[in-house]
């Protein structure tokens, strides 16, 4: 349990005080009782307050970013949740969204308010909504087709780590460059959640080279 700052000097002072007289001892005893009582009060009433998680991290909030038309943004994160929050916020403000993701479409719809945004599932499964992770050209075509036909288009491209595993880094860098060009050409916007720890330093440099990297506290 964390100790609140005002109590700390008093209690600490008691422990540090020399035991010379009985009066002093009695005084010390009273102060210890007061301190314990204060701690109990703090424990009971303080529980209602929001306390930071044990790790010391703050609960993440949606980063305040202005996504400019024609730009692609990379969000450093190990989970796509925040990118979905950015996405849902933007479509609630009028953007037309497309989702390419590793999450199953059913899970996406259950967890996030994505409305009627089309969802393409990066998977080797044979379903209508799946798209093969090794057919990068087909993924790029989906994005190109979407951004060229819709107003205020916004693309969420999740699963880059999976694409790297299924293909290779160079191919995925070429793919990102290709879809980034489509986004720029049609004044669309795209957000890419990406775990920066999934590649080495040179890989990070290649992937982030032409993207706007969002700075935030994950």
């Amino acid at each position: 349990m964390r100790v609140s700052p005002p109590l700390r000097p008093t209690v600490a002072a008691l422990h540090e005080a020399p035991l010379e007289t009985s009066a002093l001892g009695e005084y010390k005893s009273k102060l210890v009782h007061c301190g314990v009582a204060a701690l109990v009060v703090q424990f009971i009433f303080g529980r209602k307050k929001k306390t930071p998680p044990p790790s010391g991290h703050m609960i993440p909030t949606v980063p305040r970013i202005k996504m400019e038309p024609g730009s692609t943004y990379l969000l450093p994160t190990d989970k796509p949740d925040m990118a979905f929050k950015i996405f849902t916020k933007e479509i609630s403000n009028g953007a037309t969204g497309l989702i390419i993701t590793r999450l199953h479409p059913g899970e996406v719809k259950a967890r996030f308010s994505v409305g009627s945004s089309p969802i393409h599932w990066l998977s080797r499964a044979f379903t209508k909504e799946s798209i093969s992770p090794t057919n990068l050209g087909a993924v790029a075509e989906q994005i190109e087709g979407f951004v060229s036909k819709n107003n205020n288009p916004l693309v969420l491209l999740d699963g880059i780590e999976y694409l790297i595993v299924q293909n290779d880094l160079q191919k995925v860098v070429r793919f990102i460059s290709s879809v980034r060009d489509s986004v720029a050409l049609h004044s669309a916007r795209m957000v890419i959640p990406f775990n920066m720890q999934s590649v080495d330093e040179s890989g990070r440099a290649l992937i982030t080279r032409d993207l706007h990297v969002i700075k935030w506290n994950d």
């Binding site: 992770p133 057919n135 050209g137 087909a138 790029a140 075509e141 293909n167 191919k171 793919f175």
Partner: protein, 248 residues
């Protein structure tokens, strides 16, 4: 300027109706061209050729004839119907001519009587006359011939390049646009006589990707008179139609 006076402006083009590929071809395939559709087994050469005839019949009311020398008509129809093509819908416009039976009969005769002599030429003449007869009764604009290797075997073309030159010239003289299906070795560096003789060459192949997946690829190697892309595309048949996407 009132308009484009260039020869290509007045030239008729037939679309392949392969989504994304007609743009790569600069609009489609010029009328009167002899196109070689070439590739190893399993690359959907026959399906692609028939689909071009099928789509042009449905969308442009263009008549076509598909001559099969190898696969029987019933087998071909089964294959195409499984792909979602409704043959009855175009039966008055696309004729499937099953010559596989004629071929078998001719081979039998040749085996008994004159195998190995130059007398094979009559078979080619019979085939030509048959195609001309079909055209008289069903004036087709698009013709698919499946396949060149079988034609060579049963005709026993001795001087291959000269005979192919004459045959391709005869096809052009028909006044239709022809698709000749050919099988080639997977070695892309090997150049065949027919590659030079044809007006256009569509090369199909299969490529292993990522260790587990195999994709069909298509490339327009040449198309006379057309400023086409020479790039390689992924060829897919999805939701009742062919489509291409770029290869990354």
């Amino acid at each position: 300027m009132d308009g484009d006076d260039s020869p290509s402006a007045s030239m008729r083009f037939y679309k392949t109706y392969v989504q994304g590929f007609d743009e790569a071809l600069g609009g489609g395939i010029p009328k009167g061209h002899v196109i070689l559709v070439s590739g190893p087994p399993g690359t959907m050469k026959s399906s692609l050729a028939y689909n071009i005839l099928y789509q042009n019949a449905i969308r442009e009311d263009v008549k076509g004839a598909y001559l099969t020398l190898e696969q029987s008509k019933s087998s071909l129809e089964f294959q195409l119907s499984r792909m979602g093509m409704d043959m009855e819908r175009v039966e008055d416009r696309v004729q499937i001519q099953d010559l596989s039976r004629i071929r078998l009969g001719m081979e039998e005769l040749r085996g008994k009587a004159r195998f190995g002599t130059p007398a094979e030429r009559p078979w080619l003449d019979v085939l030509k006359r048959h195609i001309e007869d079909v055209k008289d009764g069903h004036p087709f604009e698009l013709l698919a011939l499946d396949s060149l290797p079988v034609l060579e075997i049963i005709s026993g073309l001795r001087e291959r390049r000269i005979n192919l030159f004459q045959f391709f010239g005869w096809l052009k003289g028909l006044g239709c646009t022809s698709f000749v299906i050919s099988e080639v070795s997977p070695d892309p560096n090997t150049v065949h006589d027919e590659d030079f003789l044809a007006d256009g060459l569509l090369y199909l192949t299969m490529e292993k990707v990522g260790g587990l997946d195999v994709y069909r690829r298509i490339r327009c190697v040449k198309m006379r008179g057309v400023n086409h892309s020479t790039g390689i595309y992924t060829l897919e048949f999805k939701e009742g139609g062919f489509k291409v996407s770029q290869v990354i």
